[in-house]
Symmetry: D2
Subunit: 377 residues, 4 copies
């Protein structure tokens, strides 16, 4: 079996999740390629070395440029802050590497587009870490919609709300600066739900958005009395129209008290409705309007081995899947895509489309009008 | 105790609810006036007579004009289709009657404003049937917000979705015609959630809306092959800004499969969040961000005798309140307001404000831009 | 229409609920008889008079014996503490009155049996206030089971848990004394769920129970340092076998923290399962095992006009029913039963059967063995 | 770091789960020993070889005796049908191996006791696969109870219900035969909830049970018309008393329609209540009776990094944990226990205590009386 050697850049929150997925994927799935945890790069050599050991990688480096240039790396996996994605991606592509990059793909749509074009020119494969699409429950939702079980979609309501910055005394960090993060909650969180909307319904064509930086200043550090300006939005929402004409609403917030993993959606069709919350990631609510009038209701389907990509984890329905299991499905897609020379999804093009919608929402807010996504580069 | 004699016009769906509330209110509450079910008017004398008997009224008439002119009527209660409200209200005011009118107050804001002015000139008291505000759970939500328990409100998401017209073969009726209903789902349903938004948060200042008639033609009657055009929207949503700067989203639909009583709200504050669904009308979800980090979560509060207006129905918490109980609280407000010569809420001014917002949403949709409510008459 | 004149004894918690039901029933339902709120008796003449006014009754008396003897009373409605039921019932029967008595029918099975026999000899009609059976949702559950939609019932789990005495400093009251209440949580609460079990499944034949007085002493009054012994159980549970062979568990507690109206049941059949909680009294969970394997799940049915006895309250599904609405259905059964000379259900015989099961559980606990209900008188 | 070399016997449903846990544990946790996936044994050499490759083990064997005798194995992990546990365990102990054995430990208490004694004599460490105790949510429940946050436990209600044999046409398999499985639902499922009861509350002292084989004959194979007798119970329940005097009910079923992973518990204390369902394995409901009367309710706590053993999987609360993550915690306990020469929990003694309670329930059913667990060997 062909070896597929991974070079992981960044070992924070999401880098760890990738590493766990790499660890379990070969046991969970009969992968089409041999996954090798080859090298870790991190901000300094010592930490990189330590993390490589903890995460089960063979080698390490304190310099990401060394990693992307290494001939024994097939896939460069980018788990760094948003502002570093572009440079790393372009450099890795220069070395002909396949790319597995965390969302949001770039600080803005223009950057994302350049990355799409670079990848296309180099003929490398790309995958963006929109892991919630890999949840078996999301795949089930997709299947139900594709089967026509809820008829034609007429409305989509989706959120990605969290409360990790709800406390106004929570200190400033890179997510709050335009140069490092680009947009705020939109880029960090809404990217997921927009990708989900397009996965489940159709491409979004026009948007009209509103946003707000609720907490305008934050302490420089925990307990500090020095306040620093927050440069991007804490919360945003937008009305959208899909290319089918279906209407939608997207909401996002990083200060939504009580939402720990508030990716939710309600997809209303002409014959039924789906409802989902990632906080109960293993269940999907399905309503069918053609049930007898006196037996109508939302049915709670617990994801199980009859549903996509669940059985490899467990053969018992309702036994539960976790956050890292989604990443494990994503890694399966990565390894199989490269091994079989097949396109992966969501690729950079999808990542760029999401960025374009995010930028369109921001422009719409500035100009107080509906924006067509094609207005954005 | 002063007699307060009710004249009820219309005995359909909502007229019956009023009648049930009149029946139980004097036993539930120690009313400040003596409620007399005096007269029913309906479309013909026979039906009026029959309904008066069924609903416990003393007299009846096939002519509403007779009712509003009757000297032994103190309150005219209007439960007829929307397009009749204005004429009846103005005529009743002419005879000096207090008015209890169902929502939406009028076909449009301009009409509503005339009704406000007529009532003001005549010095009669007015009450609009936004019954969901009378739910003890809604009053509890109001109390929690007013106490500052969730801090400053930064976001409101509210829906009033139902599926009573989800079936495209469901025949046309008066709700679908502009002349009889005015707006569609907005007027019939969203009026409630807009009123709730203003009750719980603040006045709405600007709106930006979108709407769609999803089912464009409907059978003339059940099973008929003759199709008739639907003239108003099946679904709509809007972004709003409150006068506090808080952001909001309002959604409404009469074709939202699975929603039987889909009035819901999520009120997010700087210190906590409230979440509610009228389908579980006796419970409120409260999240407090100042709970210890390892004991945070949404708490399901079952409405009980410690909460407003519950104890008169039952002294046991969690025993449940029903749709008509809300109307019974509303009737208590009506009788006490008149008996004690106090203003009632929501009055015609509030009804007009809701109509103005509805019209602003419709205009916003037409002109594809944000509309300030003061642009509407 | 025949007049049916009610004499109500007791105007506490449950007496008020009866009064509210009397007030609304004639408007909600097209009753077959003319319900007259004739007379109230309470512990002293003054309170009786005051309550009669508040609750809409014509006359009052400080002496219940006067009420039961009054020739213008057709139905004696007994809402007094348990220990008074027997004497009042027997006296009322002596005067040929129909009886509407709150649960538990008597302090013990033997008393209940005497009451059954007295009623039978006198040929009067009887009804026991097991109101939760009148919930449209319970009727829907019954219909689903009777239709065979969940196959043969193989297991029943039912609870009636509340927390009204959870606080050990909550003072003693009559419910805690054997002479006044008989059993504790079993008599006060479990009576309901046992009646429900027999309504939904079949008659219970054998029982094996356990019980405990968790809080053994309580303050004489709020804040008092004088402690008084609690004489009956705070919590109990029992295994049961129905006459069909189905197995069951019954649980009850008056100290179950967090349960405000914890009447719940899970009915498991060979083809499906029903699940219900009275705290969400307007919804029923239905699982059908013959759904396709990848679309199985519990469906949340919101009670609506397609279900029994809901439409008279409201023609919109999911709009909600309240505690008093159940009593209103019960009052409809009372009035129609008497007007049409039909048997009512649950009658004294059913009340006695429940008492017999309660006594069997208590005996089982004492003797630490399974008890057949026929061992109890 | 010390190598800890695993020999896995059995690669079915649960063997796979162990393998996945072995794969991810070293990346998730900083283990105290170096986990080596050394050898797999399965029913024939070919399958063993194939599974070893799929599951990431170095070597394989078609003979479990070879595995337990192998000098390069430190831990024997037994994932075979119940009836094989005893022989394998005793043989492995003979070779001085530490044992990691799936539940139920043995076919009966007597066998389990022999295994406990053999392990004690040999001084090997033991761990039984009661994985649900390793759920961070269960650990949180334990912490809450241990802290006294719900006061003294007065009642426990626990279930382990599934529906994997609900269909009467589902064919016979080894779980249905006494010689291979011992008890039915009790051994297969209730073992978990009994272990949980003892983990959360205290040791169980006396039991009184009832059980039933509902589906008495099953097809020999799918579609076969030859029927074979089921030899053990489909469902059972029992009343129990803990050594603290607290009362409990245990329920189990393998034919409980709709229950996919129906391990649930309600722990009622003098000051609060906990409620949990494994189908929503990442959330715990907590009620505190000392909350203000008008703010009481069950709080839904989503498990997160502030809770035990969650952060290594993900640093975001509410992001979800899955079935295999529990096994991963269990494997952490195994490796660290052996590496640090510390006792593990639940060990064979705990496994035996569970078996003893299961046998006591069965005897109680046969003899129709309460049984003290010390009556069982």
């Amino acid at each position: 079996m062909k070896e597929i050697r991974i070079g992981l850049i960044g070992t924070g929150y999401i880098g760890r999740a990738h590493a766990i997925a790499y660890a379990q994927a070969p046991t969970v799935f009969p992968l089409k390629g041999q996954l090798i945890r080859e090298m870790v790069a991190d901000i300094n050599a010592e930490r990189a070395c330590e993390q490589a050991k903890l995460l089960g990688f063979r080698r390490s480096s304190g310099d990401w440029r060394e990693l992307v240039a290494d001939p024994n790396i097939d896939v460069v996996d980018i788990c760094t802050p948003n502002y570093l994605h572009k440079e790393m991606v372009l450099e890795a592509i220069k070395h002909g590497k396949h790319i597995y990059c965390e969302k949001p793909l770039a600080l803005n749509s223009l950057d994302a587009k350049q990355m799409v074009e670079a990848a296309a020119r180099a003929g490398v494969k790309t995958l963006v870490g929109f892991n919630y699409m890999k949840n078996p429950t999301a795949q089930l939702a997709k299947e139900i919609i594709a089967n026509g079980e809820i008829g034609d979609v007429v409305h989509f309501y989706g959120t990605h709300n969290e409360d990790y910055m709800a406390d106004p005394l929570s200190p400033i960090h890179w997510h709050c600066f335009k140069e490092q993060a680009g947009l705020g909650a939109l880029g960090d969180l809404a990217a997921h739900i927009i990708n989900m909307a397009q996965y489940l319904v159709a491409d979004i064509m026009t948007v009209c958005g509103d946003m707000e930086t609720v907490v305008k200043m934050r302490p420089e550090q925990v307990g500090s009395s020095t306040l620093v300006a927050v440069e991007n939005e804490d919360q945003a929402h937008a009305m959208v129209r899909f290319n089918t004409g279906a209407m939608g609403v997207i909401e996002t917030s990083r200060i939504a008290c009580g939402r720990k993993m508030g990716l939710t959606y309600v997809v209303t069709g002409t014959k039924g409705t789906l409802s989902f919350s990632q906080e109960r990631m293993a269940e999907l609510q399905l309503y069918r309007h053609d049930d007898p009038a006196n037996r109508q209701g939302f049915k709670t389907i617990l994801v199980g081995p009859e549903h996509p990509d669940y059985a490899p984890f467990c053969n018992g329905a309702g036994h539960g899947i976790g956050f890292n299991d989604q990443k494990t499905v994503e890694v399966r897609d990565l390894i199989d895509g490269i091994a079989l020379n097949q396109d992966m999804w969501p690729d950079f093009t999808e990542g760029w489309k999401v960025s374009r919608i995010l930028d369109a929402i921001a422009r719409s807010h500035q100009e107080k009008r509906w924006v067509h996504v094609t207005e954005i580069n």
